[in-house]
Amino acid sequence: MRGTSRLAWAAPAALLYALPLLAHHSFAAEFDATKTVTLRGVVSKVDWINPHIFIYVDVKDDAGKTTTWALQSLPPLFFRGSGLTKDVLLSNKQEVTFTANPAKDGSQAYGFLTKLGYPDGHVFSMSPQDADPSLRKAQK
């Protein structure tokens, strides 16, 4: 539902998959891999910048108040030739479910994006499990 948001905290071990990626860009100096926030909202803005792109998602709480989450993602050069562009991210106005690791410094509504999930089932994901179906089977 558009009017609800959900906050959940994952088990620390669950994020080991993301660590090689995050270690590369000093993720650990800035974000808390032991915590995951899960929320729903609409992508409202994208900064296509080095060293990491930012995806902004407007999240409405039960009272109708909107909070814009700033989600750090990957270096723009990673996306070269992938077909995933700023326009693609902005053109989809459907509500997305995102997961993110929150900032260690306590900054509100600021985190590292681990997954964007769209209602039709497609995702933009940092997890190798989403890239390789055999990994998904292995964890069941």
Binding site: H24, D47, H52, P76, F78, G83, T114, L135, A138, Q139
Partner: protein, 283 residues
């Protein structure tokens, strides 16, 4: 949740890789030179094209910085691949075996201090140009008989260097300011293009790990084309801070795809660092 706990079989290698990558200075550098070589099989044994003047033809795209990560389309989804895929990860962890520069004892403490707080102190991590030699090998070369142009799509933004090949010497005007990429002049030694670089600012580092240098830095690059590869060697001499010259080598492979304009660099991380884990971007 997005991340379920993985089975032991799949978790073990990933956790191991994580442990290795989380280690500070000794961590192996992730680069895509080996992955780029794999895109052009047998590149080194192909014929070496030449310009009308007889020199090797260095024109082409030779490297894509930050190619360690790729986004791949799987069905309608986009997932991270490259160095972060269990299938291709090893290719991006191929060791470069870079030597470490040897500093004079009086500079060791300063280098260690900068390295320990690299995430805060590293100018290139905060969008300043990395400068020569840290900028790395050229990403694209445009070559004419009288000059070579080196183009770079760096994470700090687009960079370019114009390298005269007409036999001129370095400019000697004392009013000329030191710059990030310095003053380059080139000449041919047989089939090797030799680029001599001076007038470099001391606001840059030689590499990721607090590698300071002085205004006396003198850089020599050597590029030798062999088939569809270039052997790139760069030597930094700085008699003020280094005990001896420091040399790095890279093997570049001619790439089929065009160089893509780099997005502007905007530092949004600086205010959020809580701890000091490294953030290496080996070029």
């Amino acid at each position: 949740m997005a991340f379920a706990i993985a089975s032991r079989r799949t978790l073990a290698p990933t956790a191991l890789a994580a442990a290795i990558l989380m280690a500070p200075v000794s961590a192996p550098a992730q680069t895509n030179y080996a992955a780029e070589a794999a895109k052009n099989p047998g590149a080194a044994s192909k014929p070496t094209p030449r310009m009308a003047d007889g020199h090797p033809d260095l024109n082409g795209v030779w490297h894509h910085f930050f190619g360690i990560g790729t986004i791949e389309k799987v069905g309608e989804s986009f997932v991270v691949g490259g160095a972060f895929s269990p299938k291709s990860g090893a290719l991006y962890n191929a060791p470069l075996n870079d030597a470490k520069p040897e500093y004079k004892p009086e500079f060791a403490a300063k280098v260690k201090s900068l390295n320990d707080s690299q995430v805060r102190e590293d100018p290139a991590l905060h969008c300043q140009p990395p400068g020569v030699p840290r900028l790395g090998p050229p990403h694209q070369i445009v070559q004419t008989p009288k000059q070579a142009i080196f183009l770079y799509a760096d994470s700090t933004g687009n960079q370019w260097r114009v390298i005269p090949l007409d036999g001129r010497f370095h400019g000697t005007d004392p009013e000329l300011a030191a710059t990030y990429n310095g003053d380059s002049v080139g000449h041919w030694e047989g089939d090797t293009l030799v680029v001599d670089v001076t007038r470099l600012t001391d606001e840059t580092w030689l590499g990721d790990n607090g590698l300071l240098h002085s205004r006396k830095l003198h850089v020599t690059e050597r590029l030798r084309r062999a088939g569809d590869t270039i052997q790139y060697q760069v030597t930094a001499e700085d008699p003020e801070v280094l005990q001896k010259p420091w040399t790095l080598s890279r093997t570049l492979t001619l790439q089929p795809d065009a160089l893509e304009e780099a997005a502007p660099c905007v530092d949004k991380d600086a205010g959020h660092y809580v701890t000091l884990e490294h953030h290496d971007n080996t070029r």
